[in-house]
């Protein structure tokens, strides 16, 4: 099944974003996208793989993330140093605008990259956790469509959570 014509030592794959930008990635990066894993491990005759749900802006970030993770894990450094390095990278990588974070989270879910999905979920949760409801609404543009009476009722229903 696998392509025997491939003679180069490093296989590359072409990923096409929603807005038509094509990215060239190495196999070590591509296999982290579980959603296309079967595709690339099987027949790779197609010219490029289309990722319909991800914009080029987000895909570039996803590739940066996978590339760093692939390089760190194969770098031959000890497990603890690699762990530390990934932690620092992840922290820095999560230092983005909330909307980008949300899109990264959706993309990680769609592309099925478990570690990135967990990372973005944890980061989003920490943004919600440290803020008041009003701040959370503002941060994510959530419109408060409760009437004053309704909001009061909800607060009363779970009064213990709002103390």
């Amino acid at each position: 099944m696998s392509s025997s014509t491939e003679l180069t030592e490093k296989k590359v794959f072409l990923l096409k974003s929603l807005d038509g930008v094509i990215f060239e990635v190495e196999e070590s990066v591509a296999v982290q996208l579980e959603v296309i894993r079967e595709l690339i491990e099987g027949d790779c005759a197609r010219p490029f793989i289309s990722l319909y749900n991800v914009t080029s802006e987000i895909l570039a970030l996803v590739i940066e993330y996978c590339k760093h993770h692939a390089e760190t894990c194969s770098g031959g450094t000890s497990a603890t140093i690699a762990d530390e390095d990934l932690k620092t990278f992840d922290n820095e990588f999560m230092n983005v605008d909330e909307n980008i974070l949300l899109e990264l989270c959706s993309a990680a879910d769609y592309l099925d990259i478990k570690s990135l999905f967990e990372l973005t979920c944890r980061t989003l949760a920490s943004l919600i956790k440290d803020r008041t409801i009003i701040e959370v609404r503002k941060m994510f543009n959530v419109e408060n469509d409760f009437s004053v009476v309704e909001e009061k009722a909800v607060r009363k229903e779970f009064a213990w959570a709002f103390k």
Binding site: D97, N99, V142, E143, D145, E157
Partner: protein, 416 residues
């Protein structure tokens, strides 16, 4: 650098529910419930969150005049969809009939993670419904009484079992463990009803025990690699064969690599060949940690040395010292040990913790340095209370000792 892009659209509310559930699952339950007030759409998003953890946020201090019992009940009634994790670990939580009613409300076909932490009062007798959670992977129980129904056939997906102050009906523990065939990690802390422990767990990799037992045997545990045993009382010493039987049981583990024991447990080995050679060896052991090593007692030191010699694959040795007085006889004994008796050919690192530089400790290190032919590092961590110059003079003294390994370095691990 912060990448920024302002948008007016509400991007979070429209995320698929599976993503929102995951985000809410990363929040403490209290914060997840608080999202109900974001907007109408958010009012009931939290009810499908697959994890319900009642932790310190459910302390009376935070709850004020709200009662935990009512809250748990309300939350369980609101909850919808699969529930993967349920944990009750609020501070000061006591046994009560409510617990059984809550367990009764849990959907038993998907719970993977269950924690019940009773912190004071009587142990809680677990209801039989719990034994129907056949998807359980992690089970943590504190202060419970455990008596599986006769029809129970084991949690065959259970990987992690953590029991603290759990009382078993007589003779049921061994049987229970042997029918949890996927078990990989087992922790038994202060479970007083366990007297003669029999462990038959084909997938077990990690075993930790703290408490008291009369005997332990591992029937079929071919993968068990890491064992930590510590005793909460010295009662077992009354039994003559205790130390020997313990080491003999451990020597039957074909994959044992990492062992942590209190040094005084070994004392009884003196009757069985120590300090010369034990009739059993720990062939596969790579890391040995002996804690509370009492450098004032010849029997203890000689038996510890004997165990070290009976571990031919040992690569790493960690000793936590426990020394008050200088006992000349111990130093004398150590001086009399011939390095050629030893088979420490694989030992690479030694870590001496709470080292006060007493003569017996110094002689012990001297002996190791003279015997371990492949030693790379002897790390000394000085006992801050007993050592004044940060260990400087001890280190200098140790550096004068002859080393069997030309590569061996002596370092102060506090100054690494």
């Amino acid at each position: 650098m912060k990448t920024s892009r302002k948008s007016e659209a509400d991007l979070i509310s429209n995320l698929p529910s599976s993503i929102i559930e995951n985000i809410l699952g990363c929040l403490p339950l209290r914060d997840a419930v608080r999202t109900s007030i974001l907007s109408r759409e958010w009012r009931y998003k939290w009810v499908t969150c697959p994890y319900l953890v009642f932790d310190f946020w459910f302390d009376q201090m935070f709850l004020g005049n709200h009662k935990l019992e009512t809250l748990v009940y309300t939350i369980l009634k609101f909850h919808q969809g699969p529930l993967l994790k349920f944990a009750l670990q609020a501070p000061d939580f006591q046994s009560s009939p409510d617990i059984d009613r809550w367990i009764d409300l849990l959907p038993n076909d998907n719970i993977q993670d269950f924690t019940l932490h009773i912190s004071r009062g009587d142990n809680h007798r677990l209801p039989s419904q719990l034994f129907a959670f056949h998807q359980l992977r992690n089970l943590k129980l504190y202060k419970c009484a455990f008596d599986p129904p006769s029809t129970f056939r084991g949690f065959n997906k259970l990987v992690n079992l953590d029991l603290q102050d759990v009382v078993f009906a007589p003779e049921t523990f061994g049987n229970f463990v042997s029918c949890c065939t996927s078990l990989e990690r087992l922790r038994l802390m202060e479970c007083s009803s366990l007297d003669c422990i029999e462990i038959d767990a084909p997938k077990l990799k990690f075993f930790e025990f703290h408490g008291v037992f009369r005997s332990i045997s591992f029937k079929h545990s071919p993968l068990l690699a890491e064992v930590l045993i510590s005793f909460s009382s010295m009662d077992f010493v009354r039994e003559d064969r205790f130390s020997f039987d313990l080491i003999k049981s451990l020597s039957c583990l074909p994959a044992l690599e990492d062992l942590h024991l209190q040094a005084y447990v070994l004392e009884g080995l003196a009757e069985y060949g120590a300090p010369k050679k034990l009739p059993v060896t720990l062939k596969t052991l790579k890391t040995l940690h002996l804690s509370d090593m009492y450098f004032e007692k010849i029997d203890e030191i000689s038996c510890a040395l004997c165990l070290i010699r009976s571990s031919p694959s040992l690569q790493k040795l960690e000793i936590t010292a426990f020394t008050f007085d200088v006992v000349e006889a111990v130093a004398e004994f150590l001086r009399s040990q011939k390095s050629s008796d030893c088979s420490l050919t694989h030992l690479k690192t030694v870590n001496m913790q709470l080292f006060s530089g007493a003569e017996s400790e110094m002689e012990f290190v001297k002996y190791l340095l003279a015997s371990a032919t492949a030693l790379e590092e002897m790390a000394i961590s000085p006992h801050a209370g007993n050592v004044s110059d940060g260990g400087e003079s001890i280190l200098n003294k140790l550096k004068q000792f002859p080393r069997a390994s030309p590569r061996a370095e002596i370092v102060n691990s506090e100054k690494k």
